[in-house]
Symmetry: C2
């Protein structure tokens, strides 16, 4: 198969993408600002320019786009995406077909699902047929691959691993529920834990000086560095994160008996500070046999996971068209 496709990962800040061959090799890579906060029209301008630029001189018929939001993948519609201004039931596929030609096959998928597919196709889960990916960022995203196929749910909404309940009476989550995994294992969760801790004026921690007026994206790094320097409050936060992850993984493994759980996303950079707790908690809770066989691995593709996952889904839609 000599197909080349484009895999794209749209983020709140950046729009990343690559020209990828059918073997998963990245041939050309580009990154621009998404400017998603300026609205969907601006984003579409950037996206179409991006596609034109990266496909210059190439014959590309298939692209895959990962989007942070709730989608109707079959119809190619963005249902809801809090990080893109003014988007609501937006027909992305038909808009791209209008602007770039109706011959273009456009696969769209939730970004966390794309990342799961990427790690399964070319990354940490390359050799397994079933896996779950957890992406720890501002929130916690997820994707589920079963029997070599992304399970997107009856209506394309599956994989919300960040919103399984860990502590029924726990901290309120952005989704409205209480005690979601996301409210214990994301940058948002870490910010909350720091804030709550600092309310105790007697608490002695380096974070008191370093986390003031800091953007949420930078909080995990600061707490990671403080923990690395021996700050015990910070170390405790990573234990909390690790424990929540372990509780979730035990339930997931008992439920789905997958071969691998891959953990990625920026917050997972603190891997060494939480993974032992995660591992112990998961093994303490889950059935021995399936847990023994479920490897817990760190993602290896980082920003390329989403790009490669989108590329895979583009290639797949390519093959589907043919068969």
């Amino acid at each position: 198969m000599g197909d080349k496709v484009i895999g794209i990962d749209i983020g709140g800040t950046n729009l990343r993408g690559a020209l990828v061959d059918s073997q998963g090799n990245i041939l050309k890579r580009m990154k621009i600002l998404s400017e998603a906060d300026q609205g969907i029209d601006k984003l579409i301008d950037n996206l179409t320019n991006f596609i034109s630029d990266i496909s210059k001189g190439e014959k590309v018929t298939n692209i895959g786009v990962g989007i942070p939001g709730i989608l109707d993948s079959k119809e190619g519609i963005i249902t809801q995406a809090p990080n893109i201004l003014n988007v609501n039931d937006y027909p992305l596929r038909s808009v791209l077909n209008e602007k770039l030609g109706s011959a273009l096959n456009v696969a769209i998928e939730n970004d966390a699902n794309s990342a799961a597919v990427g790690e399964w196709w070319m990354g940490a889960a390359k050799d397994v047929n079933s896996m779950i990916m957890l992406t720890m960022g501002t929130g916690v995203g997820g994707g589920i691959v079963l029997d070599d196929k992304l399970w997107t749910g009856a209506y394309g909404m599956a994989g919300e691993i960040g919103h399984i309940t860990i502590y029924p009476d726990g901290a309120r989550c952005n989704c409205g529920n209480y005690g979601c995994l996301e409210s214990y294992a994301s940058a948002t969760a870490i910010r909350r834990m720091v804030k709550e801790g600092l309310e105790d004026k007697k608490l002695n921690t380096a974070l008191r000086e370093t986390t003031e007026n800091v953007h949420i994206k930078d909080i995990p790094k600061i707490v990671m560095e403080a923990a690395g320097a021996g700050d015990s409050f910070s170390l405790g936060i990573w234990q909390e994160v690790g424990k929540a992850l372990g509780i979730a993984i035990a339930s997931l493994v008992n439920l789905l008996n997958v071969e691998m759980v891959v953990i990625g996303g920026g917050v997972s950079n603190a891997w060494d500070l939480f993974i032992e707790t995660t591992y112990k908690e998961a093994h303490r809770r889950a059935f021995r046999a399936p847990m023994k066989r479920a490897k817990i691995q760190r993602g290896i593709l980082r920003d390329d996971a989403g790009i490669l996952g989108s590329a895979y889904l583009a290639l797949k839609s390519c093959n589907e068209k043919r068969s």
Copy 2:
């Protein structure tokens, strides 16, 4: 397709089975004691006699057997089954082939998985492609059908819905974990709640007289009747059961976005006493869109769920052999 197959459901007490046609019609039905507590040899004797009896005068090449335990379905081995005495890595398929002829195709599956397949094939979930079944009995079993296929996991161990963690610091479960769904929504859980409640000598409840020295299987019925008669302690127990179920269902729907959740098993006879709480709790916690589309239904096949599920798996292995 004119195939007739045998679907069997082995329980701790009874061995039920039926001759079933490819349309799911039950042509002949039988029930004997399993005597599983007398060991695997006795059970096998009963099983082979049962199969000979029910297939008398019929040409049957495929049978499906549902078994309460952890299996290796591909290899036809019972790995572990606490309700069958002295069974451990027992090669059920080859034993049956030895006794009944090597031409017999034997499909084996966990009994809760079989029940899920039964409800999906001929029962409450007949019209959907994805569903989760919860069987509330002495424990809580489960089965997951995705895209019209039973998901049994990478090693045949998936579907342990009773062992997802609901309350991380909750009651100890038979599996060793704390706060499993099973420890809040099974006959075992109800017995524990009654026992704990009665420790308060001041508690005024009809259960004080009616639950003494009663077999665990009869406890849910007694608590159901007491609740029906207005006993407020008993009503509270069903609220607890309903809440735990609702927490679990919210997580399952966020995770898997299935079209339906079917609830069966003897404890679900108290449906009217817990389902409103379940419904409210699930809707309060899950994402609106997938929860709105996930019907929560009571199983309709009762004891036939497992039989029909086993029959379906037998038919399927029949077709697989052919294609």
